[in-house]
């Protein structure tokens, strides 16, 4: 009688049916990006992969992902060989669409498997909570919007991440956890943001003796170091032999891009730009100097290279320093008490820090916070109250990704469905905490959640009716500023919970 219902497999089947129905839905340029990568990996020899630039969507993921595309392309040629031609830009025959969409659903099985591992690894009373959390990740509107409509392969990769996190739960599988994470890094380098937590955790629990920090377990160090080195060698080795590492690095880390991504991820910099924009109106009265060239970009609204009119400009170096600083803070606690809960908490906080302070952060990266947080959100009610504004803000911030009218009811109704279902379910499942809650925090979070309704209505309907096509940046700015408040609020809340529990 350990089974709880519905099971993950049952949810996966029904969700799968829904996702197949979404085949003809809107797809972003990421669809073409991945088609192009299929074509590159299939028709070019290995050492030309990172140099090919017929399409503007060049290969900018690490080699394991390229290998992954190569494997997919072996099947793709059975579906429609035409999609594998590099010059066939923007090619989207129905076979191509079906094939690519279907691979997303199929590779998401990794996530289902990892979540099942997570549920199985939970014991006793928390098992039911683990099941609910697992289902919430599987049905996440974030994954639905990003993977199954917008088009990406996050489901598969977050599956690997969760599997690695779950493996870290047991002493015997710590090595596997580290190696799996190394492999994940070679698939998508965004997970580098989480690497500090892994480093500290594995260092403390695997490489150092649990009894004393000063006793080093050399054999374990060799195993882990050698394993990670071997994985990186498998990924990058063939390219290193040809001396292509600098080229790959320039593809993976394009620092030429701006601070804020076109859609403004809801982070500190979105709030920073919002304040800047407010100050433009106030500056003449207070006598602050305005930079004229920045005003140009203000009127354009959507900008790749944000420059600020009043506030000082932000350099990548500043972002990097701030990110590292806020990542380091929770790591001290992790080093001192390396429990699994603290580890997942630290991973979450690393995600938060990089999302909030990182350079050119994409709003899709919010999954980097939501997914690990979901695993511990049901520990007790204090965790849950920090999770709640994140769940709302994180998903609302994804809405601008889908701007076509047909997808509007889909994204809103699905997200509302998910929020109602899981916030209600989590509320019942999360046990009470032994410690007092923060003063008024829950009230504010309820108020915050309530504000999302008029906000979404304004951005999707009212704005268009009132202003038409002008001031297009306004809804985006409101959405990201609103979401930024939620993400920052939940970050602060979670920091407090993390350090006081």
């Amino acid at each position: 009688m350990s089974e709880t219902y519905p099971t993950l497999a049952q949810c996966a089947i029904v969700a799968g049916a829904f996702k197949i129905l979404l085949f003809p839905a809107y797809k972003s340029t990421d669809f073409e990006v991945h088609r192009n990568w299929l074509a590159i990996t299939h028709s070019l020899p290995l050492w030309e992969w990172y140099y090919e630039k017929t399409s503007e969507w060049t290969l900018d993921y690490p080699p394991f992902f390229a290998y992954f595309e190569w494997i997919l392309s072996q099947v793709a040629k059975l579906a429609d060989p035409a999609m594998l031609r590099i010059y066939n830009l923007e090619y989207d025959s129905w076979q191509t669409v079906y094939f690519q969409r279907f691979t997303v659903i199929l590779t998401e099985l990794v996530l289902v498997y990892a979540l099942q591992m997570y549920v199985d690894s939970s014991r006793g009373a928390s098992k039911r909570a683990a099941q609910a959390a697992a289902i919430s990740i599987l049905l996440s509107p974030g994954l639905l919007i990003i993977d199954h409509i917008h088009f990406q392969y996050n489901g598969c990769m977050y599956g690997i991440l969760i599997a690695s996190l779950v493996l870290a739960r047991q002493k015997s599988t710590l090595l596997a956890s580290g190696l799996l994470f190394a492999a994940l890094l070679c698939m998508k380098h965004i997970y580098l943001y989480l690497a500090p937590a892994y480093f500290v955790f594995l260092l403390r629990t695997y490489c150092l003796s649990p009894k004393s920090v000063f006793r080093i377990r050399f054999l374990n160090c060799v195993k882990l170091g050698g394993g990670v080195a071997a994985i990186f060698a498998t990924a990058f080795g063939p390219f290193a032999l040809k001396g292509q590492i600098p080229q790959i690095m320039s593809r993976l880390f394009p620092f030429a891009r701006g601070l804020c991504h076109a859609y403004w991820a809801p982070n500190i910099w979105a709030m920073y730009s919002f304040v800047d924009r407010v100050l433009i109106a106030l500056a003449p009265r207070v006598g602050l100097p305005l930079r004229a060239e920045a005003l140009q970009s203000v009127t354009r609204g959507l900008v790749g290279d944000t420059s600020f009119a009043v506030l000082p400009d932000v350099t990548p170096r500043t972002c990097f320093a701030l990110t590292l600083l806020f990542q380091a803070i929770p790591l001290f606690k992790l080093f001192a008490s390396p429990t699994w809960d603290n580890f997942v908490g630290a991973v979450t906080l690393c995600g938060y820090a990089s999302f909030l302070f990182g350079w050119h952060v994409h709003e899709k990266a919010v999954l980097l916070v939501i997914v690990p947080f979901s695993l511990v959100a049901l520990r007790d009610r204090r965790y849950l109250s920090a999770f709640r504004p994140l769940a709302v803000a994180g998903h609302v911030s994804l809405f601008p990704l889908l701007f076509t009218p047909a997808e509007f009811p889909l994204k809103t109704v699905y997200t509302v469905f998910w929020l109602v279902l899981f916030l209600v379910a989590f509320d019942r499942l999360a046990p009470a905490s032994g410690r007092p809650r923060f003063f008024l925090f829950d009230r504010f979070s309820t108020l915050y959640i309530a504000v999302s309704i008029p906000l979404v209505l304004y951005c999707s309907l009212v704005h268009g009716l009132v202003f038409g096509k002008s001031y297009e940046f306004l809804p985006l700015m409101f959405t990201s500023s609103y979401s930024a408040v939620g993400v920052v609020g939940s970050w602060v809340g979670f920091l407090v919970v993390y350090f006081t529990s």
């Binding site: 009688m1 029904v14 829904f18 109704v413 109602v420 999360a430």
Partner: protein
């Protein structure tokens, strides 16, 4: 059992979402005793609602159910509609769009006369009013969608979104509330627990046939079906006047609701006669019906009179002398063509003429009913059409008289879905001018059985599932014409999966407690049909039909479908006879079936 404190270990395992705070669990209203004893869900749909077995308020679960049903409908709408990119005539989508064009752009008196060759309006007035409303709303967004003449065959992407939205909104205003209320009333009447009623509601809302036809293929059947449901729901609640109003609305939206008319009549009349004759009720129902029809026709009549007074000709395209009256030209001898009421009569006759196309053949296209199947054996075209029409009328009457007699003599509310289903099957199988989409009409009440007593037990589930799957399958040729194989496959398989039916599971067979003959009989009949359907799909996809018989697969579909529907008709009739207690008890050896 249900009254026990929720803290006993066994209870804790069952109430999945146990409230943590100081909430007292009251399971008694939600679960019947039999339900509470069940430890594991028997089919996936009940697993999905398993967490709702605790004290979950309806205000939490109902919105969730409605959102899921809506999401699947909207997602299905992403696929193509009938007639997409298929000139010159396009399809049902164009017909509906064109009616919005006609009703918003032309005076009322021209609605039923305007260019009849291009999807002339041939539905009753309520459809015209509905089209007018949708057309007006749509014109606010983009007037070009419904511009006269120039909008024909439009495949504007935003127009598609608007049209899809009108279907969903209409359904959520009429069908969905009616279904929710019906399921609640009917399950309470049958003594079914609230939790089982939720399961049944989801199964009814996720019924693949209606989603495929309304939200993929494109039609507004759920509006008519919703009015019928509202009428049935009023009958269950004992509000017979409202029942007649809603039924007139259903008839006024789509004439196909006539399939149910005999049952409505039999039930209402039966209630006026048994247990004692109630003349007031009878007169009241008659009066309400007449008034409802009058209200239904009033806008058309007033519009015609208005047009006459403003000198608008209903047929501006015709020159020369006034054409004779439609349908009954000889009536013109008795009516003064200059009289003020003449245009009204002309208008109403034209409407009836358009709505009931007596001039068409016995059957249209290939449809899985008796006539089309019989045509495979005997070429029916060789007989005079009058003989065929008379034959069809007689056969139909013969098939619908037994169920309606039962309903008349035993006017019980619990029998409503069965009687409605049997009558509609009779009409579908034997009547004149049947369309393959008409199979929705018998399917709707039959699916409602899930909300009744033992509705989720294996036996009922197996038969309701069988009818629904067969129904979807006979509509496959219609759907494959517009390349809708993917939504067809996904939606039907999803439903079978949720209800634990073949081809995903055999769990709905071998009901404990019924006789071995029934168990194996059901199993073999269903297995035979399911295998035939599967084999048909394989052949249809891989083998080209021989040159001289291009319609071979469609014909095979029709033959198998008609046989299966006949069995469904017989099963419904038998169940009706058993539950109406017209058959002596000794005949039915069936022991009392256990709940699932």
């Amino acid at each position: 059992m249900a009254g026990h404190a929720p803290s006993t270990p066994r209870q804790r395992r069952k109430a999945v979402k146990k409230p943590t705070a100081n909430v007292i669990v009251s399971v008694d209203q939600h679960l019947s005793k039999a339900d509470a004893l069940v430890r594991t869900p028997t089919f996936p749909l009940s697993a999905f609602l398993w967490p709702a077995r605790g004290s979950v308020s309806q205000w939490e679960i109902l919105p969730l159910i409605l959102m899921v049903a809506g999401l699947f409908r909207w997602a299905a709408g992403f696929w193509g509609y009938s007639g997409l990119g298929n000139p010159p005539m396009f399809g049902d989508y164009e017909a509906q769009r064109h009616w919005m064009e006609v009703t918003t752009q032309l005076p009322v008196s021209q609605w039923y006369f305007h260019d009849l060759l291009w999807w002339g309006l041939d539905y009753p007035p309520m459809t015209a009013y509905h089209s007018w409303l949708c057309g007006k709303l749509g014109s606010l967004i983009n007037p070009e969608w419904f511009a006269l003449y120039t909008s024909r065959g439009s495949d504007d992407a935003n127009l598609k979104i608007f049209m899809r939205a009108t279907v969903i909104v209409s359904e959520y205003l009429i069908y969905v509330p009616a279904a929710v209320i019906f399921v609640r009333r009917y399950s309470r009447l049958s003594g079914v627990s609230t939790w089982s009623a939720w399961v049944a509601l989801v199964a009814i809302l996720m019924q693949p046939a209606t989603i495929l036809i309304d939200h993929v293929h494109f039609q507004y059947n759920t509006v008519m079906l919703g009015f019928v449901l509202a009428s049935m729901s009023s009958m269950v609640a004992g509000r017979y006047y409202w029942a007649s109003v809603f039924f007139v609305a259903a008839l006024g939206f789509k004439q196909m609701a006539l399939y149910y008319a005999f049952s409505v009549f039999a039930f209402l009349l039966g209630n006026c006669v048994f247990p004692r004759i109630n003349a007031t009720r009878f007169v009241g129902i008659a009066a309400v019906t007449v008034v409802s029809f009058a209200v239904l026709l009033l806008p058309i009549v007033l519009g015609t009179l208005y047009d006459v007074s403003h000198g608008v000709d209903p047929r501006p395209d015709l020159d020369g002398p006034r054409p004779p009256l439609p349908l009954f030209p000889e009536l013109g001898k008795y009516v003064d063509s200059e009289a003020i009421y003449y245009p009204v009569i002309e208008q109403l006759l034209q409407m009836v003429h358009r709505v009931f196309p007596f001039a068409r053949g016995l059957f249209e296209d290939k449809v899985a009913n008796f006539w089309c199947a019989a045509n495979l054996v005997v070429k029916l075209k060789q007989y005079p059409s009058e003989l065929l029409q008379r034959g069809a009328a007689l056969m139909t009457l013969a098939s619908i008289i037994p169920p309606n007699l039962i309903l008349f003599f035993r006017p019980r509310k619990t029998l409503l879905p069965l009687a409605f289903a049997t009558t509609a099957w009779g009409f579908f199988l034997f009547s004149y001018q049947v369309h393959e989409k008409s199979v929705l009409l018998p399917l709707m009440p039959m699916t409602l059985l899930l909300a009744g007593k033992h509705g989720l037990a294996k036996d009922t589930r197996a038969w309701v599932g069988f009818a629904n799957l067969l129904g979807c399958w006979t509509m496959f040729p219609l759907l494959s014409r517009v390349e809708l194989r993917v939504p067809y496959t996904v939606l039907t398989l999803l439903w079978t999966y949720l209800l634990g039916l073949p081809p995903t599971s055999l769990s709905a067979y071998f009901q404990e407690g019924s006789s071995l003959w029934t168990q194996w009989g059901t199993f073999f009949v269903h297995a035979g049909f399911y295998l035939a359907m599967a084999l048909w799909h394989v052949l249809e996809a891989t083998v080209k039909p021989p040159e001289d018989k291009p319609d071979l697969w469609v014909v095979a579909n029709v033959g198998i479908g008609a046989a299966g529907f006949m069995i469904c008709y017989l099963w419904c009739l038998w169940r009706l006879a058993v539950e109406g207690e017209v058959i002596p008890k000794s005949w039915t050896r069936k022991a009392k079936p256990k709940t699932q």
